[in-house]
């Protein structure tokens, strides 16, 4: 009986945890709260390529991409600064997972559009998803005058479809730590027109990109795209870019060096004319400025406010 008493006492004693840890009484249930990993990259582009990130739901991102000429053009061209290739773009977050965008590039007067959807999302807590997986489908259209087309030949009839190219890409990546993110991007570029039948219309490619965060507001990004040599048209090389992301509140500035001139998939994956080893390096920058057009949580907040006022 004495043992029973001791057991009972112990039972009570353990049921009364120390007063200085009241919250432990609630157990671990709050860990059920799902916390998605954010800020894998500072913006939705690594440099030229898409990153793991989407713009948030209801947010419009105005992007200015700018590449100067090649560094090795010498003093007369002021090391490339006399020339410029630009892309102006607008991206919008339709839902937390879906982002759409359009852009206009000076490179071959191209208009491009894309749809990007997050199929899986990495989370820090509350689920066991270790990676983020996104799909990007993009299309580009050359809008040059017929005579200006790079493939222009007065003896051959030009079809509108010749101006179109497509790109499909999967982006699988993980934010391994606060400072390190890595992603792989297997993809396919489809060109409606290639120089002759020895060239492939479907160009497979594999991209890899990563970032290392140096401080809270500065990171180093790099990306590389590999295309099997027999799929690349002559005179074109693989794209490699490296640069800094600098975040200043509402803007992200990306300063970088790249051998690619164009800033949409067909151009930088399959039409990079520069070679790093020859000094064909563009200095370039991207500026991203976001505007919140729609606040998806505004209604919920308003409801709570009304409730409070009703009670008060």
């Amino acid at each position: 009986m004495r043992q029973l008493f001791i057991v009972a006492l112990l039972g009570v004693a353990t049921a009364l945890p120390a007063q200085d840890d009241l919250l432990s009484l609630l157990g671990e249930e709050e860990e059920d709260l799902v916390v998605l990993t954010d800020a894998s990259f500072k913006t939705t582009r690594v440099i030229n390529s898409h990153s793991l990130e989407n713009v948030a739901h209801g947010v419009l991102d105005f992007k200015i991409g700018h590449r100067f000429g090649f560094l090795n053009e010498g003093f007369n061209e002021f090391f490339g600064l006399d020339q410029a290739t630009i892309r102006l773009g607008l991206d919008y977050g339709v839902t937390p997972e879906l982002m759409v965008g359009i852009g206009r590039s000076s490179y071959q007067k191209t208009v491009d559009g894309f749809v990007k959807y997050k199929l899986l999302r990495q989370c820090d807590q509350g689920c066991n998803m270790p990676i983020t997986l996104a799909g990007v489908a993009a299309m580009s259209m050359n809008t040059q005058e017929e005579e200006d087309l790079p493939w222009y030949d007065p003896t051959v009839e030009n079809y509108f479809s010749h101006r179109l190219a497509y790109s499909f890409q999967l982006i699988a990546g993980r934010k391994f730590s606060e400072s390190f993110t890595l992603q792989l991007m297997p993809g396919l570029v489809h060109k409606n027109l290639v120089p002759d039948s020895t060239y492939a219309h479907d160009i497979l490619n594999m991209g890899v990109a990563g970032r290392i965060k140096l401080t809270k507001r500065v990171a180093i990004n790099a990306e590389y795209f590999y295309v099997p040599p027999d799929m690349l048209e002559e005179g074109y090389y693989n794209s490699f870019s490296i640069g800094f992301d600098i975040e200043t509140g509402g803007h992200v500035f990306q300063l970088h060096a790249t051998n690619s001139t164009g800033m949409f998939e067909r151009a930088y994956i399959t039409e990079t004319v520069g070679q790093w080893s020859e000094g064909d390096i563009h200095f370039g920058f991207n500026i991203s400025r976001v505007f919140t057009l729609h606040d998806p949580k505004a209604k919920a907040r308003e409801r709570i406010r009304e409730q409070e006022q009703g009670e008060g």
Partner: protein, 188 residues
């Protein structure tokens, strides 16, 4: 106590269990508490809301604790929320803000009947890895249905918690941030 008879042991067990139950009835908790903060400057007003605050309050001793997950604060602008977590609160390193302290000025018995009570709130606020004392007043309301609600406001300064604000945005973030707490307690 000398326990020789089974009846005594049983009585002792019941007695002890009884005190445990009585004590447990004076504990209140929530998992859906609300904390909001407001930063007001001539340049920009910023507010954030968290509806998933946990708290346990032992009315018999006055001891109270709160915990708020930093990532659960919702902002009007997604980018603000990202920067709040990444650049200011560093929520991957310091995921929670906690408060450990006391409510004094109301007894467990008073909470069993409707009324409004002013309490003194004192304790330590730990945020961004830095603990600072906080003292304020709060209001406890017990309504006709016996529901216990607690409300309080206080001020925190980012500087006190080693939250670094770069020069470029210094005019947009208030030196003193108003914090509002609102809890609907449930008996544990």
């Amino acid at each position: 106590m000398n326990i020789k008879h089974p009846k005594h042991a049983l009585a002792a067990t019941l007695l002890l269990t009884g005190t445990f139950v009585a004590q447990a009835q004076e504990r209140y908790f929530t998992r859906t508490g609300y904390i909001a903060f407001f930063s007001e400057t001539p340049m920009e007003n910023i507010e954030a809301h968290n509806y998933k605050v946990t708290s346990v309050w032992d009315a018999s001793t006055g001891a109270v604790e709160f915990a708020a997950l930093i990532k659960a604060f919702e902002f009007e602008k997604a980018l603000m929320q990202e920067h709040f977590n990444e650049n200011y609160m560093e929520s991957n390193t310091f995921p929670k803000a906690t408060f450990k302290g006391t409510f004094s000025g109301v007894t467990a018995d008073q909470l069993k009947k409707p009324g409004t009570y002013t309490v003194e709130v004192k304790g330590d606020l730990t945020m961004h890895g830095v603990t600072k004392p906080v003292a304020t007043t709060g209001t406890i309301v017990v309504d006709q249905e016996g529901k216990v609600k607690a409300e309080s406001t206080f001020v925190v300064s980012p500087e006190d918690h080693d939250i670094e604000i770069p020069g470029m945005v210094r005019d947009k973030i208030a030196k003193e941030i108003q914090v509002q707490v609102r809890i609907d307690y449930q008996l544990m």
